[in-house]
């Protein structure tokens, strides 16, 4: 039923004045328009916006304050000093912040499935994923990115690293590829909600939970957990593996050093199953009825 409605909405005759576009361009344009709308609407309550941007940075900064309080009692944690942990913390935080800004509200799809408002998205001539990602776009999330990058810069200034071209290259690549990996997890999590219903929190345990885990050195965690986040849900490629290479430390699982450079490839690879799952989920959607 829903697909028929979409098909009807896309009949060429009805949209004669709109030149045919490629779906990606169409998606990006729709995404941009929805984002602009939400930004304008957020700016209506400017005090609230400023408070929440600040709050967003502060809320994530607290994780770092917790680590800092831990280091008021100890010199190393899992064998890592504070600036080394700051490198992990800053990169994970910036990556998640970026993914959260661009795709974070995909977890609202569970609510939209439950209340039936997803149907209105199906009849609009913009890819549903673009609409879901831009839904209630929250500009305040730049707070987390800024704060993560600030800690990252501090870490780099404190660390005694022998910078090679490879290590310099890894720094921005780690943040962007990390964001892409988190993004793929978000899309897969959103697709999961077509099956499970309102299960936004499952998605959150992989994104926010993963982020919390990646803020600490891998040496803190059990080997089984490390295998899981390296080979099953490859969160270790968000920052652990590149950061271990930058810090000149061995991987606890004994992987060779060059895997540090695989993050962009891993990001591309995880997007394939994520987008397939998303399409399967969307096809299986049958609305809530009335």
């Amino acid at each position: 039923m829903a697909e028929a409605v979409v098909a009807a909405a896309r009949r060429p005759g009805e949209l004669a004045d709109v030149p045919p576009r490629n779906r990606t361009v169409e998606g990006l344009r729709g995404y941009g328009l929805i984002v602009a709308m939400w930004v304008r609407s957020t700016m209506t309550y400017r005090t609230s916006f400023l408070l929440s941007t600040f709050g967003n940075a502060a809320i994530t900064l607290l994780d770092f304050v917790a680590i800092w309080i831990m280091f008021s009692h100890v010199d190393v944690l899992g064998g890592f000093a504070l600036p080394e942990i700051a490198l992990l913390y800053g990169s994970a935080s910036a990556s998640l912040g970026l993914a959260d800004l661009l795709l974070g509200n995909t977890d609202r799809i569970g609510v939209r499935i439950r209340d039936g408002s997803l149907d209105t998205m199906l009849v609009r001539p913009v890819p549903v994923l673009a609409q879901v990602a831009a839904d209630r776009f929250a500009l305040r999330r730049v707070g987390r990115i800024a704060q993560g990058l600030a800690v990252l810069v501090w870490a780099v200034s404190e660390l005694d690293v022998d910078w090679t071209a490879g290590k310099v290259w890894l720094m921005p690549v780690m943040v962007v590829a990390g964001a892409a990996i988190f993004g793929a997890v978000m899309v897969a999590g959103a697709a999961f909600q077509f099956v499970a219903g309102d299960a936004a929190e499952v998605q959150n345990s992989f994104t926010y939970g993963g982020n919390t885990m990646l803020q600490y050195p891998p040496t803190v965690f059990g080997k089984d957990l490390l295998r899981g986040v390296t080979f099953v849900v490859p969160l270790a490629f968000v920052n652990w593996l590149p950061a271990l290479y930058v810090l000149g430390r061995p991987d606890p699982l004994g992987l060779p050093g060059w895997v540090a450079f695989l993050s962009p490839l891993v990001a591309v690879v995880v997007f394939v199953p994520a987008s397939l799952v998303w399409r399967a989920g969307l096809r299986s959607y049958r609305s809530t009825g009335s």
Partner: protein, 271 residues
């Protein structure tokens, strides 16, 4: 009067049932609390390996802190998910006028509904993560039933203190219209000052002394200390519960004052 006595338990039961219908969301929440419990437990083990006895807890007590606080998060709505967003929305849209017109007290109405919600989440999202933690790690859970009873009283008081603060946030919508910013700031303070991040006894110096007497300490830190029988001394459970009850009283009283100021502001638009 007899009908009044039945009203608030009925509202609470409604709150309980309402959340009981969100089966999938509850299961997802249990999963999340368990995942976070594992991550935090590993970091605490690393910390307590370096500094045994930190904050007055041994490692088993520190791990108990992690898992019991994961069990209390949803019930206390410490990181959102309570009633105040709904209340703010009703204030923004003007539906609050209908609530004020009801023959029930506004504050007691929301308190009853929130306790019903909390009751469900204590069972639905509290028990399983704690069991998972107890199976995977060695925890310092008491066997004395009296201590568990005291803990439950302490949890109830923690819920009322949490409600007291969130009711003030809800009322703030009468002046601010949009609650997003202030809610987020409140979550920031709650995460930091409740003991969710780290036990408050680990916080250094004078700063630590301040956070331990603020109302947020009543939400996680105090129930945990009551459960494990530490930091409040031998007859200390009474002192701990008194601390919570004191804050509950102050916060509910402030809410009442603010409520009467706020309701004088209400202008009911005809339509």
């Amino acid at each position: 009067m007899a009908r009044r006595a039945w009203l608030y338990p009925a509202v609470a039961a409604g709150g309980f049932r309402r959340y009981a219908t969100y089966g999938t969301a509850t299961a997802a929440g249990v999963f999340t609390n368990t995942v976070f419990g594992f991550i935090l437990a590993y970091t605490y083990i690393a910390l307590w390996d370096e500094r045994p006895g930190l904050g007055g807890y041994d490692q088993a007590q520190a791990l108990t802190f992690v898992w019991v606080s994961q069990s209390l998060l949803a019930a206390g709505a410490l990181i959102g998910g309570g009633f105040q967003e709904e209340m703010q929305e009703r204030i923004r849209t003007g539906d609050i006028a209908v609530d004020l017109y009801r023959p029930a007290d506004l504050q007691m109405w929301w308190l009853a509904a929130d306790l019903g919600r909390a009751g469900f989440q204590l069972l639905g999202r509290g028990v399983v993560p704690l069991l998972a933690g107890a199976l995977a790690f060695e925890l310092a859970l008491p066997v004395d039933p009296v201590r568990w009873l005291l803990f439950l009283v302490s949890v109830l008081l923690a819920l009322v203190v949490s409600f007291g603060i969130r009711y003030l946030l809800g009322l703030a919508a009468f002046w601010l219209m949009d609650g997003t910013g202030i809610n987020l700031m409140a979550v920031v303070v709650t995460i930091f000052c409740s003991g969710m991040l780290l036990p408050l006894t680990v916080f250094p110096g004078g700063f630590g002394e301040i956070v331990r007497v603020l109302p947020w300490a009543a939400m996680i830190q105090v129930p945990l200390d009551v459960l494990m029988g530490v930091h409040f001394g031998a007859g200390g459970a009474v002192r701990a519960l008194g601390f919570q009850a004191g804050w509950a009283f102050v916060l509910l009283g402030t809410g009442r004052l603010l409520q009467s100021a706020a309701t004088r502001k209400v202008v009911v638009q005809g339509g």
